[in-house]
């Protein structure tokens, strides 16, 4: 049996089961178990890679995102079990909305995985649309005025993005149709990539602009980012972790796939320049916005925009080294940011607030979580010895090598963001504790597991991983 079908089938089956399970403890465990099963099946892709079919395929690029997505989905479901327990105790969630939550969690996993393994630009579009819908529903889960407003805003902006992406998708088909003689084949990634040189360059240019605006909304690139901070702040924290850690990556994956098609055609505009501009703007804008945040989840949401900017920048620079750095940064950012959201979730629950001024002295009141957050912020700010230091270092050096003056705004942006994060970290983690000091009864394994991986990546990457990142970096082209 094709393991890809299993990877998609497990979350889909789990959705049906979880919708029917009334007991919340069992449901939370089943949710984690299903996610673990998906992750283990995804790991099998390293050993044996199935042959591409008409609609599904696995190649060097998406295999690592499939494994990363299923891994973070699994650890988040683990974190979510203890998080949700607390939310029910304080009465923020009812048993019915919890059942809904677990079922939606699995559909979300399913649609993100489907977007990654789809060998068809139309199918990928449908999957990303489904992922958008499920996350919108999740953001509005608390039914507060703020969460509904945030969900509505996310919904409208993402819908417009999705619509633009569909127009781009139609244009790609229009470009491919004369060469590939129409049919499903003319929407398959493999065929599109192989024959890209013969497509009409003008149509490809137009298509890429629409696709970049459309899927760029999902990535949260400035100026298309307006939904992102609100959606992160008002929804349940496990969803913030998944949004930042996974959904933004899926959006970027879509953009990069289309960039690969353009890379195969000699007469098109350079998509890198567009990515560079949006990346640099996102980095500088989000870096400055970090200073004025009063809400801890908004703070890290802006930090996600900043990091998506860095990643877009490095793919925009192009070339094997910068692409390598971008891929590495994508993986490490999603591990680190979800770890930070795990910590933030527990902190917000025990303190009863998300407001930064009311959270103080965490390393004294809650050493385990507090130091976890410190480590996470050290990593996200790009300090050694954590892995993100290495990837940011690679981004800067590759920029230096190819277009030295572009490294200047990059370094300035990194410094601005570092200053903001250091300032906030100092206030939140150290000093006199403020607010409740009640102990947290939650599993800290997911958070420390992610941080350990990021730490190890700081000085050692397994050989096969490096070779395989290099292959993908070549696939991505100039």
């Amino acid at each position: 049996m094709n393991p890809v079908l299993l990877i998609l089938g497990i979350p889909l089956t789990a959705t049906v089961i979880l919708a029917a399970v009334p007991n919340r403890t069992i449901a939370a465990r089943l949710n984690a178990l299903a996610s673990l099963a998906t992750f283990i099946t995804a790991l099998s892709l390293f050993v044996a890679r199935p042959a591409p079919t008409l609609f599904l395929f696995i190649d060097d690029f998406n295999v690592y995102l499939v494994v990363l997505t299923s891994f973070v989905a699994f650890t988040t479901s683990w974190f979510s079990a203890s998080y949700i327990e607390h939310e029910v105790e304080i009465g923020r969630l009812t048993p019915i909305s919890l059942r809904f939550y677990h079922a939606m969690y699995q559909i979300m996993t399913f649609s993100m995985l489907l977007a990654l393994v789809a060998n068809n630009i139309g199918l990928m579009w449908v999957a990303i649309e489904a992922a958008t819908l499920t996350t919108v529903v999740m953001v509005s889960l608390y039914r507060t005025q703020e969460s509904i407003e945030a969900a509505w805003k996310y919904f409208i902006l993402a819908s417009v993005g999705i619509a633009m992406a569909l127009f781009g998708t139609i244009l790609i088909y229009l470009a491919a149709q004369p060469v590939l003689t129409g049919g499903v084949e003319a929407m398959a990634w493999i065929a599109l990539k192989a024959r890209a040189a013969e497509f009409d360059a003008g149509i490809l240019n137009l298509a890429f602009v629409f696709l970049l605006i459309g899927y760029g909304t999902k990535v949260g690139l400035v100026p298309l980012h307006a939904w992102l901070p609100d959606a992160h702040a008002e929804g349940p924290t496990p969803i913030s972790a998944v949004l930042s850690g996974l959904l933004l990556n899926v959006g970027l994956y879509a953009v990069l796939r289309f960039k690969m098609i353009l890379a195969g055609n000699a007469h098109v505009i350079d998509p890198g320049a567009l990515l560079l501009t949006m990346g640099t703007t996102s980095l500088l804008f989000a870096g400055l916005m970090l200073y004025r945040r009063r809400d801890i989840k908004r703070l890290f949401a802006y930090s996600s925009i900043e990091h998506m900017g860095i990643i877009a920048f490095s793919f925009g620079i192009g070339g094997p080294l910068a692409n390598f750095a971008g891929l590495l940064h994508m993986a490490l950012h999603s591990l680190t940011k979800s770890a930070i959201f795990f910590a933030v979730g527990h902190i917000a629950q025990v303190k009863g607030t998300q407001k930064l001024p009311e959270i103080r002295g965490l390393t004294t009141s809650h050493p385990a979580i507090g130091w976890g957050l410190v480590l996470g912020v050290i990593a996200i700010a790009g300090l050694p010895p954590m892995g993100l230091f290495m990837s940011e270092f690679l981004v800067v050096t590759s920029a230096m090598a190819r277009q030295p003056w572009l490294a200047v705004p990059m370094v300035i942006g990194l410094a601005i963001a570092f200053g903001a994060l250091a300032m906030r970290l100092q206030q939140v983690a150290f000093g006199e504790p403020r607010g409740s000091s009640a102990p947290v009864s939650a599993s800290l394994v997911p958070m420390y597991l992610h941080l350990a991986l990021v730490f190890v990546a700081g000085f050692w990457l397994p050989g096969p991983l490096v070779t395989w990142f290099q292959n993908v970096a070549h696939l991505l082209g100039k």
Binding site: K153, L166, A186, I203, R293
Partner: protein, 225 residues
């Protein structure tokens, strides 16, 4: 093969859809907007059915059916009841003056023609003109979303944008998955309408609406109080 007659019919329908996009922009009452949208959805269904006939692609009849049943019947009925419940049937609450919006609309149509014609010179004339019309409808839908304050007309703007996409998709010869995509889009629209119904959303929320900034931006509250 396509004859001149088939070409003309397809062309006429697409152009009428574009005209209705303008009609959407100059309506001053919500009920008028809704009627204009209903007619537009009927025409998009007709365009899909005509393409199904001339391309000999029976699956496009399903797209036509979705347009007629879902977009031209169910959605307008639901929106009528929302408008009644929220008591907003009188005004469309434009952000910018209607004349200015129409001028901007004309500029957008010119822009899309200038954009598409030189690019798509390789494709057939029908596809090319269809694409330019579809892009105009998409841009006019966006314009409507930007220039209206009330959520119902914003949603109608979104749906007319989607009508443009359906027009583009059915006009490109032999495009697969059109039906699947229009189903996916209908689900999206159904969610939007359902959400408005459930949460009684009257106004759009975004950073342009200054009166909302105070309550909306959780992180500014600390400084203002």
């Amino acid at each position: 093969m396509r004859t001149g007659f088939e070409f003309d019919i397809a062309h006429t329908i697409s152009t009428s859809v574009l005209l209705l996009s303008f009609a959407l922009l100059y309506q001053r009452r919500m009920v008028g907007v809704l009627h204009a949208f209903t007619v537009q959805a009927l025409l998009v269904g007709a365009a899909a059915a005509w393409q199904a006939y001339i391309q000999d692609a029976p699956h496009l009849y399903i797209t036509a059916l979705i347009a007629w049943v879902f977009k031209a019947t169910i959605i307008p009925l639901a929106l009528h009841s929302i408008i009644r419940r929220l008591g907003i049937h009188r005004t469309v609450e434009p952000v910018v003056g209607i004349n200015l919006t129409l001028l901007a609309g004309v500029a957008l149509v010119i822009l899309s023609i200038l954009l598409v014609f030189p690019v798509a010179h390789a494709s057939t004339a029908l596809t090319r003109e269809n694409l330019a019309l579809a892009l105009s409808i998409v841009l006019l839908g966006l314009l409507m979303m930007i220039t209206r304050r009330n959520a119902v007309s914003q949603v109608i703007g979104f749906m007319s944008l989607e009508n443009g996409l359906v027009l583009a998709a059915v006009g490109v010869k032999g495009m697969p998955l059109v039906v699947e995509m229009s189903v996916a889009f209908s689900v999206l629209v159904a969610f939007i309408v359902f959400g408005m119904f459930l949460f009684r959303i009257r106004e759009r929320f975004d950073t342009l609406d200054l009166q909302y900034l105070e309550t909306f931006r959780g992180d500014h509250q600390g400084e203002r109080r």
